[in-house]
Amino acid sequence: MKPPRFADRILQFFCSPDQLEEVLGDLHEEFAYQLRRGSERRARWRYWRDVLGFIKPFAMKRQKSDYSSKTVMSSDMILNYFKIAWRNLVKNRAYAFINVTGLALGIGAALLIFALVRYHYNVDRHHQKYDSIYRVTTRFVTPEGNFNIAGVPYELGKALKNDHPDIENLAMIDLYRDPLVTIPVANGPDRKFKEAHQMGAFVQPAYFKIFDYAWLAGGPAELTQPNTVVISAENAIKYFGTTQVINKIIKINATLNTRIVGVFKDYRDNTDFAYQIMASWASLPAFYGRPLNTDFDNINGDTQCFVSLNNQFTQADWDRQMLAFVKKNKPQGVKDTRFPMQPLRDIHFSTDTDGVSQGLIWSLFAIGIFLLLTASINFVNLATAQALNRSREVGVRKVLGSTQSQLFWQFIGETALLTLTATAIALLFFQFGQQLVQENLHGAFRFTFYYDVSVIGWLALIVVGVIFLSGFYPALVLAGFKPALVLAGRMTSQQLGGFSIRRSLVVTQFAISQMLIVGMIVVANQLHYIQTKDLGFRQNAILTVRLPQVPKQDAGKMEAFRHLAMAIPEVEKLSYSMSGPPQSGWVSQTMIKYDTRPDVEKFTPQQKYIDAAYVDLYGLKLVAGRNLQPADTSREVLVNEAFVKQLGIQKPAEVLGKFLHNGRDLEIVGVVKDFNQNNLRTGIAPLFMTTRTTNYFFANLQLHNGNFERVIRQLEKNYNQIYPDSYFTAQFVDEQLQENYTQEQTMAKLVNFFAGIAVLIGCLGLYGLMLFMAAQKTKEIGVRKVLGASIGNILWLFGKEFVRLIAVAFVVATPVAWWVMTHWLQDFSYKIELGPGIFGIALLATVIVAALTVGIQSIKAALMNPVKSLRSE
C-alpha cells in the first residue's frame, strides 16, 4: 500500500529540496502507522491533510542548500521575478495603466461578443431531440430564385402522416399573436388580460413528444380533445395566483372557451418557441368558426409543421420522396412547390423566416477577434518600445547564469500577471456590458452565460490566447539580448530589430480601425437610406387601428366604427384593409391563372384585401385604369407594375379588363405604380389587391395635424364601445416601418458599440507609443530647438511618422473593407453606392482621431524648454 502519488508530487513542488527527504519520510512512516491502525481510506485522507499542511511556501523558512537549484521554478527566482515585475510596473505606471485598461476593455468586450454568439448558437439546444427535429417548410421555386415560407397547408400534417407512417413524431402548430385571455368570474365582470407580447398557439399533442416540456400539473394527454388548453406557470399565476388550475376555464380571443388540462414550467432556456398559451389543434375550427381549409394552395406562415425523425425515416428519405408527395397532394404545384425539412438548428438563422442573420453574428465575432488583436498589439508595442530599459537587467541575469528560456518565461509570466489583472477588471466590464446589451438590444433573451460551464473554457482560451499573442514577441526580443552588447551600453533603440515590426503592428491597428470606421459609416448610411427612401406611399400622420382577431369581420360594426371615427375632427379619411402597405412578417400568397392562359402562372403573387379608399389614403398612383368600386360584390382587382411585368406584358394598359382566377374570377380594372409592400431588403414583388370586407384586419386613418394623443384616446373609447370583447391597439405607419428594421438597427448598435471600443483601444495604444517616443526624443528635440527648429518642425517630426503609417494602413484596409461591405449590402434590394467618399471620410476620421491622440503629447514635447532637457548631459 502506497500513499497517494499525486500528493507527493505537490509536496515536491512546494517543499524546499533540503527538507524534502525527512518530511516525505515522516509522512510515509505516519501513513504506514495510520494504515495499521485504521482503514486505508482514512489513512489516505489524513495523508492528504498532512501534505496540504506542509504547503505554506511563504511561511516556510528555508535553509539554503549548498548548491542553488537549477529548476526554472525555483521559489527564490519566482519571488525575485515578482519583485522586479512589480518595480517595473510602478516605475512605468502610465504604460501599465494603458496596457491593463486596453486589455481589460478588449477582453471584456470580446467576452460579451462571445456570449452573444454562444447565445445564438444555443437557442433551443436544450431539447433532447435537438438534432432530429425538423420543421417542414414551403419553398416556391421561381425564376427569380427560391422563396421560403415557414408555414405549410393545414392538411399537410395529415397527408404526411398517411403517406409516411415511419415518421417518428409529427405535430402541426398554428400561431397567433397577442392573445386576449378572458377569465369568467362567477358574479361580476370577467377579468381580461391583453397578452400584448406573447404568442399563442394551437398544437397537436405530439408537439410535446418532439419538444421537451416539464409539467407542474396535468399534461398534454387530453390535448386530443377540442376546447382544451395548456398554459405556462407564469400565466397560470397571473390569472389565478396558483399553478393548480386544472379544469379551470379561460376564454381565448373572446371566441373560444377552453379548459386547462396542463400547466408547464416556465421557459428557462433560450428558445424561439416560447408560446405561453397552447390550445388543442382540434379547437381550431371552433376558433375560426369554420372547418379548416383543406386546400393545399392555402399557405400561411403561421401554420407550421414540426417532426422528429429517427433511423426509420430520415431527412434524406424525405428529400427523395418529396416530389412524389407533391405530385400526389398538390399536382398543380409539381413545378414550383416543395416542402423541404429545415433542421431545428437552422431555424434560428433562417432570415427568410424571421431568423437572425448569421452574417451579423460572424461580423460580430470578427470584431471580437479584432478587439483582442488590437489590445494585444498595444501590449506588444509598448513592451518592445520599453525593452531597452530592461536590457541591462537581462544582461546581468544572463551573466549570472540565467538561460534564455528562463528569461523568456519570466517575461511571459509578467505578461500573464498583467493579463490576469486585466481579466479581473474585464469581468466587471462584462457585467456592465451584459446589462447594457440586455436592456438596449435584445430585451427578450436571457444570458445563461454565467451558468454555463464552458464559460470557463472560453475565458481560459481568451486569457491564454492574449498572453501568448501579447507576450510572445516581446519575451523573445528581451530574452535574446546579447549581454556583451547590452552591458557595454552599445544598445540603442534603433538596433532593436523590433522597430519595423512595431511599425507593421501599428499599421495593422490603423487598418483595423479604418475597416471598422468604414463599417460603421456604411451601416449607418444604409439604414438612413432605407428609412428615408420614398417607398411609393404616404407615411405621415396615418394611424392604423387593429380590428379584433376574429375569423370574419362584422360589416355592420365596421360601419359603426367608421361613423364614430369620422366624427373626430382630426380624422380626415378612413380605409379598411387586410394590412398596411408595409406588411411585416405576414405575407399572403396565392397561385393564379391569368386571362385565358391554360396553366397556373409560374410566379406566386402576394395578395392584399383593401377597400376603395385605400389607394387615395396612401397616395398610391394609378398608371392605368381606375380605382376599385366600393362594393364588395364588384370582384374587381388592382395589380402592380411588377405583376404586369411578371405576366410578360409590356404595356400596363393591356391587362385592363382581363380576368385573374384564384378560386374567384376577378377583373383587372387598374394598375398601380410599384410601391414597397415589404421592406427594402426584399423589395417589390408582384401583387394584386381586391376587396373583401370579411378579411380586413386594420382601419387606416389619415389625420390632420392636431393633438394625436387626444385622437387616440377618443378612438380607443369608440373602439371599446363597438368591440367590447377585444382590445385597442393603434400604431402610426412610420413607427411601424421602423420596426421592420429592428434587426438592422440592432446590428448598427452592436457594430457601433464594439467598433467604438476597438478604436478606443487603438487610441490608447497610440497614446502610449507617443508617450514613449516623446520621452525618447527629449534630447533630440532639445538640440533641434537650440539649433533653431520651429515648433511646427518638431510637431512634424512626430506627425510624419504617423501620417506615413496611416497612409499604408489605408491602402491595406480599403480593399478589405470594400469587399466585406459589398457583401453585406448584397442582402438589400435597395442599397447605397460604396463611393470613394465613404473611404475618404474614414481616412479623415482616422487622421483626426490619431492627431487628437498624438497631438497633446507632441505639443507638450515641442514646447518643452531645451534648457531642461539638455541640462543633465
Binding site: 527538507q19 527527504e21 525527512e22 518530511v23 516525505l24 519520510g25 515522516d26 510515509h28 512512516e29
Partner: protein, 112 residues
Amino acid sequence: MKRGYLGEFEEIVLLTVAVMEGGAYGVAITHEICEQTGRAVRLNQVHAALERLEDKGMLKSEMGEPTAERGGRRKRLFTTTAYGRRTLQEIQEVRESFWAKLLNPFRPATSL
C-alpha cells in the same frame, strides 16, 4: 538574563526531544506528544516548531538511518543543545519560584 522566547508548543516539543534522548524525529515526536498531552498534533506543526527551535539554537540535528517504511528515506534526529537545556531549566525555575509564592496552594478539587 534575557533568554530566547519560547512558545508553549515549542516548549513541549523541546521537552519531548529532551525526554526522547536521541530517538527524536518528526513522527516519533508527534506520537509522543499526542500520547502525553492528548492533543491532536499534526506533523507539519511539529516540523515547523522543530525548525524554529533549530534556528534559535536550542536543537541540533543530524541525519539518521533509513527504514523501509519511510521509502528508504533517512530520519532527521534531533538532540537538545546546552542552550536549549538551560532554557528549559530557566523556565522551570521561574515557574517554581511562582508556585512557591502561592499562599494557598491549590488542593485537588473535590466538588465543583
